[in-house]
């Protein structure tokens, strides 16, 4: 399970605050340290939304570049990791949406070809991704962040800027929908 670095998601540690402040004044060196601390987590988060290494690397790099540009507006109410997580998630969701729109025709064709064989191996991952992308945006984000990224309800509520109650409700509804959409996978496995 992908676990976020603790320093990143709690309030920023003193040395992290110092790095952020140096990076704000233009220190690439300080920002590089922040990148090295958070890059693997950012990559995993991006991957959980986009589902492939190329896009995950692109999205995670873009997120850092944007974060650097937006540092003056970072108010440190949440940790740097939480703030970065939000940027990664937004970029990754946009990328996933674009990818889906581009490859919709290919997916339909592939599905037709696999229908007779039943879902196996990588197909299962594709079905899960497809089902996830059919969820409403907030539900999708909550389901991915809670179940695939392993974040706590509080962390997800910080990232999505909503109450913990809202996170719980969306998770409940999202999981029920996912189960309905993927019921055939369970039946196939039995």
């Amino acid at each position: 399970m992908v676990r976020p670095p603790q320093a990143g998601h709690d309030m920023p540690a003193a040395d992290e605050r110092q790095l952020i402040s140096r990076a704000r004044t233009g220190s690439h060196e300080a920002f590089r340290i922040l990148v090295e601390r958070h890059m693997k987590h950012a990559y995993n988060v991006a991957f959980s939304f986009v589902g492939n290494h190329d896009d995950a690397a692109d999205v995670a790099q873009d997120a850092f570049v944007r974060a650097y540009g937006a540092l003056p507006s970072f108010r440190e109410e949440a940790g740097f990791g939480t703030w970065l997580h939000r940027i990664v998630m937004n970029l990754a969701m946009n990328r996933a949406k674009r990818n889906r729109a581009r490859s919709a025709r290919e997916v339909d064709t592939a599905e037709g070809a696999h229908a007779a064989e039943g879902p196996h191996g990588d197909d299962i991952r594709a079905h899960i991704e497809r089902a996830l992308h059919e969820l409403p945006t907030l539900q999708r984000a909550v389901v991915i962040l809670r179940t695939m990224d392993g974040l706590s309800t509080r962390q997800v509520s910080d990232i999505l800027r909503c109450s913990e109650g809202t996170v719980k409700t969306h998770l409940f509804r999202g999981l029920k929908k996912m189960r309905a959409k993927l019921e055939f996978l369970q039946e196939d496995a039995r």
Partner: protein, 257 residues
């Protein structure tokens, strides 16, 4: 029957509840068909959505992470530098404030004005002039050349050493992106006053970076091989090291007391 426990079911299914809440859920679900049905569905969904045993980042090696961090740094905007005019104006302002006597202040203004004029009117070498490495080491182009050579060297070594594992195609997507950035840097450097050796090397590197940038995504093993043989045939890594040594020697000579 106790109150429904829907808001707790997800945490209960994931084993995240405290002892009291977990017992309350278990007791309620034992007698409520609706909540126990929801619990079963949530457990099934969680089973399907279980995160992978190995996180995606663990599938990447250290070289990838070094290149990742370097790639981010490369894309950051350069730190903003204070314009020379602003510095001069600020200097004049400070001087006037610090010197209340008008005559002294006036002479100070003149002196600072003369300094500004000297800076602005200093001779600039014409475009295309070949500057020796020692002199080149003093200007921005030399710093950029140093940086360009370092990044090119890392990238080419990475391409040379990238090997497919377990029958998968070599994934050089990151290297391709970096090569595109290096093509841009090479074009900038070609407009700068470089010594002949450096100018030639930048030209050769630009060609190989263009080849790498244009090789098809992921599956083009042939394209990658052409790039590798280009690196070897042109002896690029050796030439980079030689040019770096010459530049370093120039810098050391300049900095010697």
């Amino acid at each position: 029957m106790s109150r429904h426990v829907r808001s707790l079911l997800c945490a209960y299914a994931a084993g995240e509840l405290g002892e009291d809440d977990a017992r309350r859920c278990a007791e309620h679900c034992a007698q409520c068909a609706s909540c126990s049905g929801d619990l079963r569905e949530i457990r099934e969904a969680l089973e399907v959505l279980a995160p992978p045993a190995v996180s995606p980042s663990e599938e990447r090696d250290e070289e990838f992470w070094r290149a990742f961090a370097a790639g981010v740094e490369e894309r950051l905007p350069a730190p903003r530098r204070r314009p020379i005019f602003a510095g001069i104006a600020a200097g004049i302002g400070t001087f006037i404030q610090a010197n209340s006597r008008p005559l002294l202040a006036g002479s100070g203004v003149l002196a600072l004005g003369a300094l500004a004029a000297a800076l602005l009117l200093r001779p600039v070498p014409p475009a295309g002039t070949i500057t020796p490495p020692v002199a080149a080491a003093t200007d921005t182009a030399s710093v950029k050349l140093h940086d360009y050579l370092r990044k090119s060297k890392v990238l080419l070594i990475g391409v040379e050493n990238a090997r497919a594992e377990g029958g998968d195609p070599v994934d050089l997507s990151l290297e391709r992106r970096q090569s595109r950035a290096l093509v841009r840097e090479a074009r900038f450097l070609k407009g700068q006053p470089l010594d002949a050796r450096s100018a030639r090397l930048v030209g050769e590197l630009e060609k190989i970076m263009i080849q790498l940038a244009n090789s098809d995504k992921r599956h083009d093993a042939g394209g990658v091989e052409i790039v590798r043989s280009g690196i070897r045939q042109n002896n690029l890594l050796f030439k980079i090291r030689m040019t770096e040594s010459v530049l370093d020697a120039g810098t050391a000579e300049r900095n010697a007391p």
